[in-house]
Subunit: 463 residues, 2 copies
Amino acid sequence: MTDTPLTQSLEYARANQARLLEKFYEFLRIPSVSTDAAYQPDVHRAAEWLVAELERLGFDECAALPTDGHPVVYGEWLKAGDDQPTVIIYAHYDVQPPDPLALWQTPPFEPELRDGKLYARGAIDDKAGVWGNLIVFEALLQTTGALPFNVKVFFEGEEESGSPSMAPFITANRERLAADLLIISDGGCLPPTPEIIYSARGIISAEVTVTGPEHDFHSGLGGGVLHNPVHMVAKIIASFHDDNGHIRIPGAYDGSIPMTEAERQKFAATEDRTIQMIKQSLGDFRVWGEPGFGFMERSARTSLDVNGVYGGYQGDGVKTIIPAKAGFKVTMRLAPGQDPHDIARKLEAHVMGFACDTVDIAVKIGKQAGWGVLMLQDGPIIDALDRAYQAGWGQAIDFTRTGGSIPIMGMFQRELNLPITVMGFGSGALAHAPNEHLLLDYFQRNIDTAIHFYHALPQAISG
Amino acid sequence: MTDTPLTQSLEYARANQARLLEKFYEFLRIPSVSTDAAYQPDVHRAAEWLVAELERLGFDECAALPTDGHPVVYGEWLKAGDDQPTVIIYAHYDVQPPDPLALWQTPPFEPELRDGKLYARGAIDDKAGVWGNLIVFEALLQTTGALPFNVKVFFEGEEESGSPSMAPFITANRERLAADLLIISDGGCLPPTPEIIYSARGIISAEVTVTGPEHDFHSGLGGGVLHNPVHMVAKIIASFHDDNGHIRIPGAYDGSIPMTEAERQKFAATEDRTIQMIKQSLGDFRVWGEPGFGFMERSARTSLDVNGVYGGYQGDGVKTIIPAKAGFKVTMRLAPGQDPHDIARKLEAHVMGFACDTVDIAVKIGKQAGWGVLMLQDGPIIDALDRAYQAGWGQAIDFTRTGGSIPIMGMFQRELNLPITVMGFGSGALAHAPNEHLLLDYFQRNIDTAIHFYHALPQAISG
């Protein structure tokens, strides 16, 4: 290997591994749990710790920017010049609560290395993303004196509590956040095959309640003369799909960006493997869905599921009542391109179409509505990312979609209107669970991969 | 008033009121709670106490007949001769549990008279029916030396626990119970208008469960590719009725004996009053039901109600799952004439018609199935009963139907195939509740009424 700036940076990161790991422990010891008010000072302490690190690296405008919730750690390094692209690097420094504490083999905020695994809350999700980038920045700055492009760092402090303040914050900071590309450093690929997601669905939620008589009513006296709220609930739920699983709410698919023919063919070829993988991680299930669409296409299209239904007597045996009230909770997953507020209005209108004189129907749309997202799936940036993984991992990436929802990505795409890709550092296991741990070997490979990727990015973005 | 046998009997019952009340207290002090095994010796003690009373009155074959549950107190007085009709008198000597004890003003098994109200558990339901008949028998026997017809006494000991042993007992004792008429002495009219029920609906129950994936499933990964059990539950429930409230299960109305045109007209005239009365006792509700049928006819026809529905998340907020399982409890009220086993099979077949490869459906039919009943609503016996109330209460009876179910009546009608009517003694309030009490004045009027009625019965039955 010739001694190029690239190899020097790779070498720096490896040579300083022990020292940088010690520093990482310092960060991991701060219990920045965002959902629990008791940890609020710790969340702020973590933010200030990161601001100091960014300043040490020579970033400008470093600050823990206030939001309605926890601060965003911001810093910029714009010395690459106007002719170079600007990239936002996103990660989050808050962590999940450590409960149940009793199941941890070692304390969650006392990082411990065992058999090449670094155990700590946040070790993968997502302090690995934050700290991995800082290592890469240091390696690049210490060996080349500069970063290959202009960088704006955006470290969120409330990802694990649903990012309630992010949408208004991003809107208010639209100019500050102007860039050519957003890299999401959350999650991390797992051996053997590095898989990168380029699309997620949006989400809306609602709760529907149907109320009838003042109290539960004797079913002998009420049967045949009183409208049963459970029957109305069932009628509404049954109206959501036709017998093929197609959603019957008028306009439910409005705005959807369909899957391309190339994607369809690619996913058809790997469908069996995808199904097997989901079964392995989530338990056995029987495949269902709308005829004419492949498994992954169904997972990418608009879907509607009742997550819970309730009404009347649920105990053992028989209770002869007509329940006073019944209801259900419903979520819809939205295809990229769909406006969650528009679809929520259509859901509500459809349900209220059942309004009648004999029961009362109420719809409460959930506050958190997320857009779907369609990130980069091909082109020079993705080619560069693929080459970087081949260099760092010795393997090509598997690009895929998820049927799940990552609202923060939708917010960025919607508000900043820029291309997005994912490059995470948190290769490991048990995120959100006791004994969360990072695979140090793969963490190091991810650092290598990022150095390769960041090195190649200016040309990929410009060309 | 001339001194006829009738007036002598009426006079005897009033003259001996204090002594007979003391004796009633003795009976009320026995806590014959049939649902609680701890009271089993007391239930048997009450049965033996009644056997002794019947023997004292000169009845034959007096015995506490064993059943699979609590004994039936039986006794017969057949000395009226072969040319006189035979009447079964039904009442039950078991009572509801007294809980919650703290809400009783005086102990439930220490009868106490306050302001003309006799407070005790069972004072109206149904020890009044048992003891009222024994008073009438004594009055008739002591003043005329005989009863006006042959009597078979049938005092049940497990009415308050669902009469699980009665159907096989009645079948096994069909010959012993041969008679011309059955009088049900349960319940009791309330001032101002004595109302007597001549029809009740049958009942069947079932629980339906739908199971999908092994565990609750992530709705992002499962939405669109996994059959949601709640959706199947809703589809099944929604299939039960058309938009008019007509039951769509094939054969659901099979065997129904329709309401007569005369009944239709009678109930149409009192419909508003009926609705107001139900609202007063059970709370406000909005009238619903199948067009073309009056309120009371809807209450008398076959009906189907889901009594409870469940599945998935029911707590606060959102949980993005596809539930592993969902289900519901359903009861049907059956019109008189319908075979509950036949209708249960049709319900099950309808539900199982939704069977498919992507979820599992199971139907469990409840064990207790009850026939509807159509008792006497006109003719000489009812005329005699009406005249008896006019003599005892100074008022004509209001004959009506109930939409509720009284399975014991259906068993008698089905097994013994005889005419049935109702003549209760328990005029009072708070049956099944703390501070149950009998209105002594009306109890005495019911005794008068029964003496008039029994006196007139032979001619009414023969003529």
